[in-house]
């Protein structure tokens, strides 16, 4: 302030005081404004923001139920749940998905395929805030590497997940089926609430059939998460209801034995307990490691499995539809006796061929020169075709159809075997509809020995054989023996639909069974070599199914062609004779003769079940027996 200049200090002070009052008013006004703003946010709109804040921090997470376990009849664990660590990403929480994937790829190995699969899942419709798996089965090192860098990777979690594991992978694959990731089609059909936290669903077999029981009920938890999506604590929880544990009729030892009996071959064994219909073994060889399918099989591995000439993915026991060949003869014999076209004593002259009329086409017997005079028992023991040509023509297609249908042919009679096929039981109508041709008597001739149009699965053959073993009583094939949980077996298992076969003379069952025993124990029985030395009596029937051609689009070398043009060997039978404990159907593809190849396999199954299991169950081999013709 320049001295000497006059200043009215009092006026200056008054001016300042006025200005200060204005400033004070301004300050009060503005602070009042802030307070009003606070009032608006904190009091008036409080509810909105408390909701927002809770929505921020509280996430409702579904807690998937633990999938029920599957045991065999002796309590051996066949399907369990194993913790697997995987790295998952919640795309909604990731700022830049490409950067995150790139950083993850630097930390852990992520294959091209896994990346592609992840990106495919990313594009597919999915639940918001769902964790998408990127890689499974993390190693300890992977988990450590991710833990160190977790703060740099928002939205990325290492999660432990219980994943289905089949300890006997290949051996039980076709009997149990497998679970796999829920795919897009399944996503549209499943109960989206109950499956909110579930990533796996039964794809085939038992896993598929009892999906509802095995899955259980979803639970929920309210968890507090931070801004980066990490779960901090559980606020409330409703526990899931775990899936029911299932006990199957399956006997793991029988299953292993069946698998090893066919090891190195292609074929199927179905072993049934006639009394209950319980399936003791359901083997289709070769199998595949079902564990590969659980978390998603690689394209290369899948291609290898699906293009293999041995068709390991093909469940021969349920879906292999073969001409039953001579194994149909016991059922034909029952039909012929009951329909009255033949009697126990009636004999047929077998010159080695059969003609519908003199000079007509000759339907040959397998034995050149024929068997001479043949009654029913001998026709069974020797598998005489002429006898059944004759009976078939006498019965006609309608009668045959009626009886064979009662034995379950042309139908899937199984109660809980997912994916079983019905084979083909031809009829007049069928031929007219499909072939647009009338039924010729020649068709009946072929049908009499299980050739021609007729197709059946090993499961159907086993079931029909069990009906004979039960003297007409139907025990439909089933896998489920019991449920360990709140549910009773009756609630879970579908009801039986079959009615028993009652013959005009119920003694005919014994007669046919005795004839089948002749196959095994008779002096001229085709499978007598396979039954040699058995301390129990058994019934059986051998069969051969001709292979006519190979699929044209497949390539085989000459050696393979020779091998693959050999007949399929079949055998059905049960034991012991008077109180049947086991019925089996065996097919060995391109195995040659049923008596030489298939019957010894069945004998080994009988022995194991009735006499005790061999020491080294997984390495049992049966020598093919040498038999002349059948």
């Amino acid at each position: 302030m320049p001295w000497g200049e006059f200043k009215d200090t009092a006026a200056e002070r008054r001016l300042f005081q006025r200005r200060t009052l204005v400033a004070l008013a301004f300050v009060l006004l503005m602070l009042g404004g802030l307070l009003a703003r606070m009032y608006q946010l904190q009091i008036v709109e409080h509810q909105t923001y408390i909701t927002l804040s809770d929505k921020n921090r509280v996430q409702v997470q579904s807690v998937p139920p633990t999938r029920g376990l599957i045991y065999d009849r002796n309590g051996e664990l066949l399907a369990e749940n194993r913790p697997v660590f995987s790295v998952t990403i919640v795309p909604e929480r990731v700022p830049a998905i490409d950067d995150t994937l790139a950083s993850l790829a630097r930390l852990i190995d992520v294959s091209e395929e896994e990346l592609e699969r992840f990106e495919r899942r990313l594009r597919e419709p999915r639940r918001p805030y769902q964790e998408l798996p990127l890689r499974y089965d993390l190693t300890e090192e992977d988990i450590a590497a991710l833990a160190v860098h977790r703060h740099e990777l928002p939205g990325v979690e290492v999660s432990a997940e219980l994943v289905r594991y089949y300890p006997y992978g290949e051996i039980t694959s076709h009997a149990l089926g497998y679970v796999g990731r829920i795919n897009r089609e399944e996503l549209q059909t499943i109960d989206s609430v109950n499956y909110a936290g579930t990533n796996y669903i039964g794809k085939s077999g038992i896993e598929r059939f009892y999906e509802a029981q095995l899955h259980g009920q979803v639970g929920y938890q309210h968890v507090e998460t931070n801004a980066r999506g990490r779960t901090l604590r559980v606020l409330a929880r409703e526990n899931p209801v775990p899936g029911e544990d299932l006990r199957l009729h399956l006997d793991l030892r029988m299953q292993r034995l069946a698998y090893s009996l066919l090891d190195g071959r292609r074929g199927a064994i179905v072993a049934m307990e006639p009394e209950t219909g319980g399936l003791l073994a359901l083997a289709s060889v070769p199998g595949f490691d079902a564990n590969l399918f659980v978390t998603g099989i690689s394209v290369a591995a899948y291609r290898e499995l699906s293009t293999s000439h041995d068709k390991p993915l093909f469940n021969r026991a349920l879906r292999g539809q073969y001409p039953p060949g001579s194994t149909i003869k016991p059922m034909m014999a029952v039909a012929a006796l009951d329909s009255g076209v033949t009697t126990r004593e009636r004999q047929v002259w077998d010159p080695g061929y059969f003609q519908l009329q003199a000079g007509g086409r000759r339907y040959r017997d397998w034995k050149r020169g024929g068997h001479g005079w043949v009654d029913l028992t001998l026709s069974m023991a020797q598998s005489c075709d002429i006898y059944y040509y004759d009976a078939a023509v006498r019965m006609g297609v309608d009668t045959m159809y009626q009886y064979l249908h009662e034995f379950g042919f042309g139908d899937d009679t199984s109660l809980d075997v997912s994916g079983a096929l019905s084979g083909l039981l031809p009829s007049r109508d069928w031929k007219q509809a499909v072939r647009n041709e009338p039924w010729y008597p020649g068709d009946s001739v072929n049908m009499g020995i299980g050739q021609g149009f007729m197709l059946s699965t090993p499961l159907q053959l086993a079931a029909a054989t069990a009906v004979i073993a039960n003297r007409g009583h139907w025990a439909q094939p089933r896998l489920l023996m019991g449920v360990d949980g709140d549910l009773s077996l009756e609630e879970v298992l579908p009801p039986e639909t079959r009615t028993d076969i009652v013959l005009k003379n119920q003694d005919d069952w014994e007669f046919v069974i005795d004839s089948m025993a002749e196959v095994m124990h008779g002096r001229r029985g085709t499978a007598r070599r396979a039954a040699e030395g058995a301390p129990y009596r058994m019934a059986g029937k051998t069969g051969t199914a001709q292979v006519f051609s190979l699929a044209q689009d497949e390539e085989y070398d000459a050696e393979e062609v020779r091998e693959r043009l050999r007949d399929h060997a079949l055998f059905v039978g049960f034991a012991p004779l008077d109180d049947p404990k086991i019925a089996v159907a065996v097919i060995v593809e391109n195995g040659g003769g049923g008596s030489s190849t298939a019957a010894p396999v069945a004998r080994a199954m009988f022995d194991a079940w009735l006499l005790g299991f061999p020491e080294d169950i997984d390495n049992v081999e049966v020598e093919p027996v040498r038999v002349e013709g059948e």
Binding site: P2, T9, L15, T20, N56
Partner: protein, 380 residues
């Protein structure tokens, strides 16, 4: 003039009375108490905002101790010292601001710091929050009050030149505070309301011009975000949405100390620095905000009392302008956090984590205390 005034620096108390400890220390006890309350309470909030980080709390405590020491030093200096030094400080400040633009260091695309050899790193723009009002007050108090138009023009130039240099860094928040500090000097000096109206009119014309020619993209984004935070809820709008959610979810009495989910679960960004008031609002609710604003208001009252009772125009203008700067801090910060104003980097005074602003603020309170406690027997 009373003779006793020459002997006693506190003429209102009379020379016969014992000099109080406060007049010896040149501190204003009421203001000091209020500041202690504010800083002490702020530490509680900071402990929560920094997610119970004791290290950070310790660091802040040390900074506050330093800042109070600076206040003590500034309080000892006679107001005449500030007046005498004003032009020189101003020139040094301008030089430093230019130096910042040339050789400054910084981060995130802004050069704000000066690291001169032999001196601690410092932010010249912070210094200018004090120097600009002092310089403007020095200039205007030399002339007639209310000032003539030419003097107003010069005073505006004194304010606008450093402001422009700071905008150039760019540091809009500090420029705003420096500018308002200077402009309040002009206001308190008593320029006519016509001029004020004209100035307001000019600003409202200039604002759109600023938009097109001065403001950077990120600054424009902040304004757009303010207008519609939902337009980019995960990007620029995130801060505002989350801080409003934090404040609003506090309700009447809040979620309780250390119980704020928005801040502790990391939804609220900058919860220990610029957005700390949201932590307070969330954990202590409307009641807490009432207490905070009440405390701030008491401080402002006391400061205005000091300003009104200052002995000369220079003291009045400086005290008034510094008081209003403090208020602008409060308003801009809380306005920004509650979504009334665009996001500018202005901390909540004396509570936000960080040393620079606290030192500047307490230095300003030191100046205020100096004005209050150094009295000469001049004027009435």
């Amino acid at each position: 003039m009373r003779a006793s005034g020459f002997l006693s620096p506190t003429p209102d108390r009379g020379f016969t009375r014992q000099k109080s400890i406060w007049s010896v220390l040149h501190l204003d006890p009421i203001l000091l108490l209020l500041l202690f309350l504010l800083v002490g309470g702020g530490m509680f909030v900071l402990y929560s905002g920094a997610d119970r980080n004791l290290e950070m709390l310790k660091a802040q405590g040390i900074r506050m101790a330093v800042a109070f020491a600076v206040m003590l030093v500034f309080a000892q200096l006679d107001p005449s010292v500030y007046r005498r030094w004003a032009p020189w400080l101003y020139l040094i400040g301008l030089g430093a601001l230019i130096a910042v633009l040339l050789v400054g260091v910084g981060a995130k695309g802004a050069q704000r710091w000066l690291a001169l050899p032999g001196l601690p790193r410092f932010q010249p723009s912070e210094l200018m929050k004090l120097v600009v009002p002092i310089m403007a007050a020095w200039f205007l108090s030399r002339h007639y009050i209310p000032p003539r138009l030419t003097h107003v023009a010069v005073a505006l130039a004194i304010v606008l030149v450093p402001m422009a240099l700071i905008i150039k860094q760019p540091d809009l928040g500090t420029a705003l505070l420096v500018g308002t500090a200077g402009l309040f000097v002009v206001f308190f000096a008593g320029i006519s309301w016509k001029l004020i109206a004209a100035f307001v009119g000019m600003v409202s014309v200039a604002a759109p011009m600023m938009w097109f020619f001065v403001m950077r993209d990120y600054q424009k984004q902040r304004v757009l975000t303010l207008l519609d935070p939902q337009s980019d809820p995960l990007g620029a709008g995130w801060n505002i949405i989350q801080s409003k959610t934090a404040i609003g979810s506090g309700g009447w009495s809040g979620k309780g100390w250390l119980q704020g989910t928005q801040s502790h679960l990391e939804f609220l960004p900058e919860s220990h620095t610029d957005f700390i008031v949201a932590v307070l609002a969330e954990e202590f609710g409307f009641v807490g905000m009432l207490a905070l604003l009440g405390l701030y208001l008491l401080i402002l009252f006391r400061c205005m009392y000091i300003a009104v009772n200052a002995q000369d125009s220079f003291g009045r203008l400086v005290a008034g302008a510094l008081t209003m700067t403090f208020f602008i801090y409060i308003f801009v910060n809380i306005g920004m956090v509650s979504g009334l104003l665009p996001v500018v980097g202005v901390p909540l005074p004396l509570i936000s984590y960080g040393g620079t602003s606290s030192v500047t603020l307490l230095a300003a309170f030191g100046v205020l205390m100096s004005i209050q406690t150094h009295r000469r027997m001049i004027g009435a």
